[in-house]
């Protein structure tokens, strides 16, 4: 019985009750899976390293293209390095290097089987080839391969019903998105008469306005679904929460950004800054996504689900920046537009770094406790100090506070939105303040969210035995997380390190890109500039000064008299039941944004036998719902189901009838085609 149980659930620690023989077999199995993990992780890292090299080469301005005509019938495969693609290859490659190191340690704990481990390098390779695609068919091929391989990673734990449901959501939404992209890009190449991106850029001038608009809408919808933007976002919180953590990190930090790559490449670069309402649409989609994502994140209690919604928020902010850049360019304010675009791209990279770190830390928590539910975690700071500190770095970055990774880009985004519009430009005068409000609100709620994730999940007392007996992650996982934290810190303190990349982009994109300059960063003119490194140095020295002063002061003071426990108002016997939980922490948010979040409540009462008043048990559950799903997806699904019901009536199961259908169909075609 024990054998069967352990065979089914390799992650349970049942070694104590096992017979010796199976213990040995288990050790052998562990040694083998550790070796497999090391190979899989190394392969992922190596592919990532190749991506980093290619990305740097592309950003350095070395153009390189490769045409493999025999690889794919009729159209061949064309690869081409561009600076824009190079930026995304650099990001994807760097994420893959770190995730590869991490997964070598992660797998050892038995959470990642051989199959996802083997798929991961393939997934990384396809992600690297998407930005390297030089023609429409190649792009579509790589895009679809990326979707399929990530699908396999999502379904790694397919024995659980939630995972299968997440897989269905992902498959449906990603293919809806793919359909839109397919239509858009086919229209694009049909309108320009070529499939090469380089030639399309030349021929785009002859394409009519209507066709351009259709292509813009289709590609924005399709790429938006991959970037987790509304309205095709529903796969993201499910797939990111249910897939193994290294896969979540890859998807959230790298794959999602490729959606933005598509938008920048097709909608900004190739179609060029179009009419003003394009920018406005992008701004609106970004703003709604950012608000929706951050509100859902603020009330989420599942750590990975929270991080996934935060991805939607951050991609929304990036799209706000892109939309603002397009709008400002069409208003002739190229300097400010350049700043907005630089802020967006910087935020993309920064988000990749801190979100990867956050997912890796969440994975290490899940590895140690088997839990993702914040309401059941807590007290991890004592048991897992390094993971806690590293998650703190990520949370600081996600919260957009100074010294955190997200601060500079969000600051620059706000700076680009705050400006004096040209006289009489009502549209800008109306739009920009609203955008500022959206960015400010989402950053503010983001702080609440991250305080919740860090405070409830890692501080305080453990709420369950699993959390109380957590063990610190192994060396490869800590090393990977430390590397990610290092990247976060570098991007936070010296964002100007990205200047060469931004300069290279500025030479190729039709929309200007600002560089970040040296130590002081900000809009030309100096107003609203910041110096993150100086800021950090100032904060660090202030903290050191404060600590030193208090040390000196405490020498003179007599030692504390009280023996009562700290933080308990003098009372003893605090239990973890008295702590804030993630749900209770989010309660005010849920109340304030009740109209948007529309929480679903149900109360179940079990009455004592024979009494109308005596209640034995009461259970109250409240969970936020997704308004978009309820009001957009469900009607569509109902409609599809109704139509399918009609079609089903024709399906009686009789083979003869089906043959008659076929025959009549053939006859109709023959008669009509005469």
């Amino acid at each position: 019985m024990t054998m069967i149980r352990t065979a089914l659930r390799p992650d349970t620690d049942a070694a104590g009750s096992e017979p010796q023989a199976s213990h040995d077999a288990r050790q052998g199995h562990e040694a083998r899976s550790a070796a497999a993990a090391a190979w899989g992780g190394a392969a992922t890292s190596l592919v990532g390293l190749a991506g980093v090299v290619c990305g740097i080469v592309a950003l350095a301005g070395r153009s390189w293209s490769l045409s493999l005509d025999g690889l794919f019938p009729m159209v061949g495969v064309q690869l081409e390095l561009t600076p824009l693609g190079g930026l995304f290859m650099l990001l994807t490659g760097a994420v893959a290097v770190i995730v590869g190191i991490y997964s070598a340690g992660y797998t050892r704990a038995g959470h990642l089987g051989g199959f996802p481990l083997a798929v991961m390098p393939i997934f990384v390779a396809t992600m690297l080839l998407v930005p390297a695609a030089g023609s429409v068919p190649t792009f579509l091929l790589m895009w679809e391969l990326m979707a399929v391989s990530s699908m396999m990673l999502v379904l790694a734990g397919h024995r659980r019903a939630e995972v299968r449901s997440a897989g269905v959501y992902y498959a449906v939404l990603t293919h809806l998105g793919f359909m839109a992209i397919l239509l858009g890009l086919l229209l694009l190449s049909a309108a320009t008469g070529t499939t090469r991106f380089a030639e399309i850029s030349f021929a785009i001038g002859d394409v009519g306005h209507g066709a351009r608009t259709v292509i813009f809408v289709l590609t924005l919808l399709g790429f938006g679904s991959k970037a987790g933007l509304l309205p095709l976002h529903a796969w993201l919180p499910r797939a990111h929460a249910e897939s193994p953590s290294p896969a979540s990190a890859l998807m959230s930090a790298a794959m999602v950004t490729l959606g933005v790559y598509g938008i920048v490449r097709i909608d900004l670069d190739i179609l060029g800054p179009g009419p003003r309402w394009w920018g406005l649409v992008m701004l609106a989609v970004g703003a709604v996504s950012a608000l929706f994502g951050v509100l859902q994140a603020s009330v989420a209690t599942d750590l990975k689900r929270l991080l996934a919604f935060s991805t939607t928020e951050n991609m929304g902010l990036v799209l706000v920046a892109l939309g603002a850049a397009a709008l400002l360019t069409s208003s002739g304010m190229r300097d400010v537009a350049a700043l907005a675009l630089a802020a967006g791209l910087l935020h993309l990279l920064v988000h990749g770094s801190f979100k990867m770190l956050a997912f890796l830390a969440a994975g290490s928590v899940q590895n140690a406790t088997g839990l993702r539910d914040l309401d059941r975690l807590g007290g991890l700071a004592r048991r897992m100090p390094v993971t806690t500190a590293l998650f703190g770095v990520a949370a600081l970055g996600a919260a957009g506070l100074p010294v955190g990774a997200g601060f500079v880009s969000e600051w620059l985004l706000l700076q680009s939105l705050i400006h004096r519009p040209a006289a009489g430009d009502t549209l800008m005068a109306l739009t920009m303040p609203l955008a500022i409000g959206v960015v400010a609100l989402s950053v503010g709620v983001g702080v609440v969210t991250m305080v919740k994730a860090f405070g409830v999940g890692f501080l305080a007392r453990p709420r369950t035995d699993e959390a109380a007996h957590a063990r610190e992650a192994g060396a490869p996982m800590l090393l990977a997380m430390a590397l990610a934290a290092l990247v976060c810190t570098v991007l936070a303190l010296v964002p100007a390190a990205l200047d060469p990349a931004l300069r290279a982009l500025g030479r190729t994109l039709p929309v200007p890109v600002a560089t970040l300059g040296g130590v002081v960063i900000g809009p030309a003119g100096g107003l609203g500039s910041i110096a993150p490194a100086v800021l950090a140095a100032g904060m660090a020295s202030a903290v050191i000064l404060a600590v030193a002063l208090s040390r000196i002061g405490s020498r003179r003071r007599p030692p504390a008299q009280s023996a009562a426990p700290l933080w308990a108002c003098g009372a003893d016997g605090l239990t973890s039941r008295m702590e804030y939980t993630a749900s209770s922490f989010a309660q005010p948010m849920q109340r304030v944004f009740r109209g948007v979040l529309r929480p679903e409540a149900d109360l179940s009462v079990v009455r004592a036998a024979g009494s109308a008043y005596d209640v034995e048990q009461m259970a109250y559950r409240e969970r936020p719902t997704d308004a978009v799903e309820a009001h957009l997806y469900r009607p569509v699904l109902r409609l599809v189901r109704a139509v399918a019901g009609w079609v089903r009536r024709a399906h009686t199961g009789s083979v003869q009838l089906y043959l008659v259908y076929g025959g009549v169909g053939l006859l109709i075609v023959l008669v009509l085609a005469r």
């Binding site: 199961g653 043959l659 025959g663 006859l667 023959l670």
Partner: protein, 230 residues
């Protein structure tokens, strides 16, 4: 071979093709249906053989011989084994007694023949543009191919036994093969071989299916599979 002989040969082959198809609709004895199918296979093979002799093309004759071997001999033999197997004595308890007749077709014989006539007329009507395009001896026979295709579908749709449906399917395929041959005046050997292999496999699988259905339900009425729908 002079022109008259060639025309007569092609027309006889095409006529036999159609005649056997109509006879399959008429007969309900399974063994007779398979025999008619074999005749149709021979008629089908006659088309490329006559054409090949007329144009002195060894490859086309090769295609004809291959068709003759497969459709005239192998496929009917496979089907006959299904009909003729008397199983019970050697195979232990009565697992399946092969049905000798198409017991109750969905549509009666006279109505079936009427439908066949209608389908044939339709086939001749819809292929007029093709015949008008080039009035050679070959393309004159194209309507027959279409008629055989439609009659094959009809047989599949109106019979209940898996075996009769297989016969219908093979007729449909015979029609397609002849149409392909007549319209392109000579399908490459490779293509023909590939298509033939497909048909052979389909027949083997259908035969297996018929046996399984029979073993499970006691008869090979495909209506029993109705429960399999979603």
């Amino acid at each position: 071979m002079n022109q008259d002989l060639y025309t007569a040969g092609m027309n006889t082959a095409a006529g036999t093709l159609l005649l056997t198809a109509v006879l399959v609709v008429w007969r309900r004895e399974l063994r007779a249906m398979v025999m008619l199918l074999a005749c149709q296979g021979v008629a089908l093979a006659a088309l490329p053989i006559v054409d090949g002799i007329a144009h002195a093309s060894a490859e086309v004759i090769g295609v004809g011989v291959a068709i003759l071997a497969l459709r005239g001999v192998v496929l009917p033999a496979v089907l006959l084994r299904l009909v003729a197997r008397r199983g019970p004595a050697r195979r232990g308890p009565a697992r399946w007694v092969p049905a000798r007749r198409e017991s109750a077709p969905v549509v009666g014989t006279s109505l079936s023949l009427l439908i066949t006539a209608l389908l044939t007329v339709t086939a001749f009507a819809v292929t007029r543009p093709i015949v008008r395009l080039q009035a050679t001896v070959g393309s004159m026979a194209v309507p027959v191919s279409f008629a055989v295709i439609l009659i094959g579908i009809q047989v599949m749709a109106t019979r209940r036994r898996a075996l009769s449906q297989t016969v219908g399917f093979l007729m449909l395929d015979n029609g397609i093969t002849s149409a392909a041959f007549l319209l392109t005046s000579g399908v490459p050997l490779v293509v023909e071989l590939g298509a033939s292999l497909d048909v052979l496999f389909v027949t083997l699988v259908l035969g297996l299916l018929a046996r399984q259905v029979q073993a499970h339900f006691g008869d090979s009425d495909v209506g029993r599979l109705r429960e399999l729908r979603d």
